[in-house]
């Protein structure tokens, strides 16, 4: 009896292994992982439900892919390990597709990019950082970006810059400003906001979208955008949906849905609603 069940088990596993690649898993439900604390991409409302650009966009994408979507909230630090451990099927959490991350997970085509910039207090001398709001693509115009960095560098001499640990802005700061300024790393973006407000750090670096939203919070009165905006290169192609290596079927589904939402202006409409400007990656 025991031998018989074991044999059956082996036979079934073998059958599944053979049939697996031929007949790809039919996706009915897709679990999406999000931080739920990165407005306006995603945030958690007082009643515990999620809202944001990505929540609206995912609803549309899932409808077009004809699947049911379920959200799973996961802290930012552990989000990639959690994906690889199978807690959810994809990450949709304002995550930029960087080369380093692409070593461990696959990415869809990008669905949005706002660039990274600085946030300072309005009474700080750093308000006068040059090139405010100008966009510098690190990959396509490296010389100009290098010049912009050299131009802002002297003003950061001896200053402390707060940044979310292991976010793309942190890598940018370590490579470009760590020689003049102290880089202090935080687990959550809200924490560096608190320390900017209290004066423990002189500036923060985060996505333009994030700082523009945080500024509107009454608790962050006096926080303003400063300096140039950087994007591309080590800052990634833009926010993309992350998935486990080899999820080719999911990638094809999402790529198609994102492309259609980009081409018919859905992403543009949603980004005007949530960001106030167009974040579409064309």
């Amino acid at each position: 009896m025991k031998v018989w069940t074991r044999l059956l088990g082996v036979a079934m596993t073998a059958a599944m292994l053979v049939a697996g690649p031929a007949m790809a898993k039919e996706w009915k439900t897709v679990k999406l992982g999000t931080e739920g604390a990165f407005p306006p991409w995603n945030s958690t409302k007082a009643d515990g439900t999620l809202e944001g650009f990505e929540i609206d966009l995912a609803n549309i994408l899932c409808e077009r892919m004809d699947v049911k979507c379920e959200w799973v909230v996961q802290s930012w630090k552990g989000i990639i390990p959690a994906l690889n451990a199978g807690k959810f099927d994809v990450i949709m959490s304002g995550m930029s597709a960087t080369a380093k991350r692409a070593e461990v997970i696959d990415f869809s085509i990008p669905y949005g990019s706002t660039g990274q910039t600085f946030g300072v207090l309005s009474d700080s001398e750093l308000v006068d950082l040059p090139l405010k709001g100008t966009v510098f693509p690190l990959a396509s115009k490296p010389e100009e970006a290098k010049k912009a960095i050299e131009e802002i560098k002297p003003m950061f001499e001896g200053k402390i810059i707060g940044v979310q640990s292991s976010a793309i802005a942190e890598r940018f700061l370590q490579e470009n400003l760590a020689d003049v300024a102290e880089i202090r790393e935080y687990g959550k973006t809200q924490e560096h906001d608190l320390d900017l407000m209290s004066g423990r750090v002189d500036a923060i670096m985060a996505s333009t979208a994030y700082i523009s939203t945080a500024m509107k919070d009454p608790a962050n009165e006096g926080m303003v955008l400063a300096g140039p905006r950087f994007q591309g290169g080590i800052l990634g192609k833009g926010s993309s949906i992350g998935m486990r290596k080899g999820s080719d079927d999911l990638k094809a589904m999402f790529d198609k849905a994102i492309a259609s939402a980009r081409d018919d202006g859905t992403i543009k409409d949603l980004s005007i609603k949530w960001f106030g400007f167009d974040v579409t990656v064309y």
Partner: protein, 245 residues
């Protein structure tokens, strides 16, 4: 098993050891003075002092260290009055916020350990000291405190080990000690198991050495519990004498 990565993790985490030890030792050292004060308040028999100490214990032993850290670091900085005061020179710095939180926390636990030690001093010893003409501070310094410390040492050793582990919480207020460096390495490499196994092993090694040191102290302070060396020598002499005859 990627031995190369284990090695790289170790090399990344080792620079965090001095900071971990500094946080643990400095706060335990400072906390010991507050703890002694609190224990004496509890035993003073003066009502208001006793109540103050009880209240302190209630708050700092009853609430999680994580919450205390958050309140001291992010909470106090919310008040402009704090930011404009002299205290801000310390509170501005995450390092001192961690030291303050750890010190206040360990003081609460250690004060009970010390109180237990003080209570365990036999009354006969105190009477004997009085008979020798000691009183007041001299009696406390020469007789009561040394006996209390000897009695409290095993429990205090445990407290020191708990403090070494408690420093790992400092990583949440941007301090890059062993756990802070480990969390950063995990978020860069996405390899949780290897990094935290190495971090855990470092804490184990630190605490192993610490327990040996505490044991050595205990051994040195308790000669009265061992067979005196002189009787051993006599016993040996008797044996050899027996062999000859």
């Amino acid at each position: 098993m990627d031995m190369q990565f284990f090695w790289e993790s170790l090399v990344t985490l080792i620079p965090g050891i001095p900071l971990t030890l500094q946080l643990a030792f400095l706060s335990t050292f400072l906390g010991a003075f507050i703890a002694l004060g609190l224990a004496m308040m509890r035993l003073s028999g003066i009502r208001p002092l006793d109540w103050f100490a009880r209240g302190y214990l209630f708050v700092f032993r009853g609430s999680p260290l994580l919450v205390q850290l958050f309140l001291i670091y992010y909470g106090l900085s919310q008040f402009p009055a704090v930011r404009h005061s002299f205290a801000w020179t310390f509170l501005r710095d995450p390092y001192w916020c961690a030291i303050i939180a750890l010190t206040l926390n360990t003081a609460a636990y250690a004060s009970e350990v010390i109180r237990g030690g003080l209570l365990s001093v036999p009354h006969g010893q105190v009477e004997a000291a009085r008979a020798c003409g000691m009183s007041g501070f001299k009696l406390f310094r020469r007789i009561v405190l040394p006996l209390a410390i000897r009695q409290a040492l095993p429990a205090y050793g445990t407290e020191l080990i708990l403090m070494v582990k408690a420093t790992s919480l400092a990583s949440i207020i941007t301090i890059m000690e062993i756990t802070g460096l480990a969390a950063k390495l995990v978020s860069e490499t996405y390899r949780v198991i290897e990094v935290f196994v190495v971090a855990g092993a470092i804490y184990l090694a630190i605490n192993f050495i610490l327990t040996r040191i505490i044991m050595a102290f205990e051994y040195k302070l308790t000669p009265h519990l061992r067979e005196p060396r002189i009787t051993k020598v006599l016993a040996l002499e008797n044996e050899s004498a027996g062999e000859i005859s």
